[in-house]
């Protein structure tokens, strides 16, 4: 028992020391609240320190939905200085809660302004777009000398429906985006489309990782479905596949200054920095998304294999928020869940 007691004391002391030892001088930092998937190379962090003299700290808080809720729950007493990663399906939540400080970045004119949220007051500034589209395993069809589908409408054909794996919009954010795609494309006919696709034998799973890494024939699991719901950028990582460019929903990720921050100037510098060439060029390889600033070069091979979709469905965030629950219930009814 003595050994235990001693080791426990040692552990507590060590932890206590560690907890006290990591405070840099205050005021020289900017804290960014973001989602779990946020990742940027170290060079970007170094560049931020060089350009602004500030150290960038990152706090991760769950998925995009949890992030939006976290920010909206305590408007005016934020956990950080800025927030990145709230997308257009959740954007109206923190704006309505009054959790964001308006800021019109001078950098936005370079392209980000095109994605501004209608009716808002610059609370959020666009940083990147990740378009959700159907992906097709072209090699699979080529090996069978069959024609791959050309459009999301082709899934009404039972042959293609049975070869596709889609996502539940209730449990998956790309799933929600594709539901919005179908609402944008078919307007009042979207429920019939889903009924037809389900009757044709499409499988619907709860999350992207199961769909892509296990069911998709070109994914790591070498499954038996050559059509999967993923992103326009996925073919960049998976040769032999391509995205159906008429099925895409435009998912935009935004950055914003948190109301009540003790470091508003640092937060604004961070917003500008996210629109700068350094971050914009690093986004595709780091997070599989497209930059919003014009004239940002894409990594090698993206232009051929994973180009930016020329046309996407886009719906106003407030409209999505108002109808999210109703659409989900109608979707469940349509697919018989």
């Amino acid at each position: 028992m003595r050994a235990i007691a001693l080791s426990l004391v040692a552990v507590v002391t060590a932890t206590a020391l560690a907890a006290c030892g990591d405070d840099a001088e205050p005021g020289a930092e900017v804290t960014l609240l973001t989602h779990d998937s946020f990742a940027l190379p170290d060079s970007v962090f170094d560049a931020f320190r060089r350009e602004t003299g500030l150290t960038l700290k990152v706090v991760k808080s769950g998925d995009a939905g949890q992030l939006a809720s976290t920010v909206s729950l305590t408007p005016g007493s934020p956990k950080a200085d800025a927030v990145f990663g709230i997308d257009n399906t959740f954007a109206s939540r923190p704006i309505q809660a009054g959790a964001l400080e308006p800021y019109a970045s001078p950098m936005a004119a370079g392209g980000a302004a095109d994605y501004a949220i209608p009716g808002s007051n610059n609370e959020l500034t666009a940083v990147d777009r990740g378009d959700v589209c159907l992906n097709v395993d072209e090699s699979w069809y080529a090996a069978r000398s069959e024609e791959p589908p050309k459009s999301l409408r082709d899934l009404s054909d039972p042959k293609y429906a049975a070869e596709s794996v889609l996502l539940d919009p209730g449990t998956s954010s790309p799933g929600m985006s594709f539901l919005l795609s179908t609402i944008g494309v078919f307007s009042d006919g979207w429920q019939d489309y889903w009924k037809t696709v389900t009757a044709g034998g499409a499988s619907i799973v709860s999350g992207w990782e199961i769909a892509y890494n296990q069911k998709f024939s070109a994914g790591e699991g070498k499954g038996d479905k050559p059509i999967v719901l993923s992103y326009a950028s996925s073919p960049a990582a998976t040769p032999g596949t391509s995205a159906l460019l008429d099925s895409c929903f435009r998912q935009v990720e935004y950055v914003g200054v948190l109301k009540g921050t003790e470091n508003p100037s640092g937060a604004r510098k961070l917003v500008d920095f996210m629109l700068g060439a350094e971050v914009q060029a690093a986004l595709p390889s780091a997070m599989y998304v497209y930059p919003v600033q014009k004239d940002t070069p894409l990594p090698d091979g993206w232009q051929q294999r994973a180009p930016v979709p020329p046309w996407t469905v886009s719906l106003p965030p407030a409209y999505i928020a108002q109808n999210r629950e109703k659409w989900l219930e109608q979707w469940r009814e349509a697919v018989g869940r």
Binding site: D36, A39, D42, K60
Partner: protein, 546 residues
Amino acid sequence: MARAVARGRRPVTAGRLGGLALRVVPAGFILILFIWPLGALVRRAVDTGSDVGVGELFRRTHALDLLGFTLWQAAASTVLALVVAAPMVWLIARVDIPGSALLMVIVTVPFVLPTVVVGVAFRALLDGPLAFAHIGSGLWPILLAHAFLNVAVVARVVGAAWRSLDPRQAEAAQSLGAGRVRAFLTVVAPRLMPAVGAAAALVFLFCSTSFGVIVVLGNGEIRTLETEIYTQAIGYFRIPEAVALSMVQIVVVVAALSVTRMFTDPGGGGSGARPVETRFRPYGRGWLPVAAAVAWTVVVLVGPLAVLALRSVRPGADGTWTLDGYRALSESVNGVTPLETLRYSLGTAALAMVIALVVGLLAAVAMHRSRGVWAATGNLVATIPLGISAVTLGFGYLLVLAALPPDVASSGLVIPCVQALIAIPVIMRIALPALSSVPGRLREAAATLGAGPLRVFLTVDLPLIGRALCAAGGFAFVMALGEFGATSFLARADTTTLPVLIGSALNRPGADNLATAMAASMLLVGVTTLAVVVVEALRPRTGALL
């Protein structure tokens, strides 16, 4: 039943203070870390106001259907976990074979794996090699995954209790002509019932608030109270609905505790424990059941882990071998490498373990001494955090921390305390049966000879329950290292815990990301293994005094 210590010669004030601390510390801890945040959220829900009454909220969210299904799947998962774990418990408690310490490690490891990894692994198993069974998704895979995850709980809680039983009664029964089976059924089983009940209650609660497994394996078609709370709170940002459903979850906790009471015979408890080796070495035909139990353990627990290990070096089904996944663990993301954040996770988990052990032991002793209404109430309140949705707790913490000065809110103690809160009910359930098995006569003898209550506890109880406490501590550590949803709302700057890293790597295309996720899972398995080995090595073999 053990009686409180007879009054010896001791300073009254010290004794009073000690008795007070026993109750005040755990009560204060739970008040600050649970009642306060939950109260803050309830108040917010009332302030937000809903255009409808509570009854309408329940109707609108299908609360009763969800409650029914939640109870049913948790009960079915619990029964399955008990059945699956039974041979392993027997191995741990009764058989002394080479490598039995390894066994303790193997049963504990699954518990630390992020549920999303378990879900994905089971999905791969059931859609791949086991596709003929046609249970790729739905209720069965959920029950199986829950059983796999919770074997550790049953093995630890029941195994610890069985090891501390005095073997002489069973020996006496056998010498009086009872067969082995009869001796077990009439002598051992009744004494194990409290521990079985405690384990069942814990598993029941873990399964009722399960989220990742339900979502991944239930395909979005299966909904429980927990998944609906997530949908209401995160999907629609409807706090009144989420809070109303969380209140329904308390019914689940009460149900779980009632189950425990059914098992537990309040008049039971120890009439003498010997901290001696009570396990037998198999010989001859005695190896048959042992070999069968070992084989069972390997198939159930090592199988899925082996799949993970294989995928970490061979991520694609078509198979190129690579160590890139492991290399990625030392590559910096956002300026921090996964290995660096592991150090942070370990420190936090160790701190959480210490806090949970201290508070949980105080609570167990307090409960042991005050039977009746107070004990039952304390038990209920201390257990509720296990049965409340992670999202609800997380929202509560956000509200409370926003109202506190930044220094407190950003303190490094917040996360370990939250992790400890969840581990305390587990520690209580391991420590209480152990305390009950300490013979009251020993305490009385010590008190008669002039030892005060604290001295009695340190010299009589502690050495006898040390083994059980070690098991509890190791378990608390593993719980803190694994994932607990509420802590994701409280993340600190520049820390990416391994479960978070695994989740985000799983959400990106390409073989390298999949390999990283699997390698990080294996790292978690490795660290858990080490932690359990250390705890097992520290376990007192004899009644050594502190």
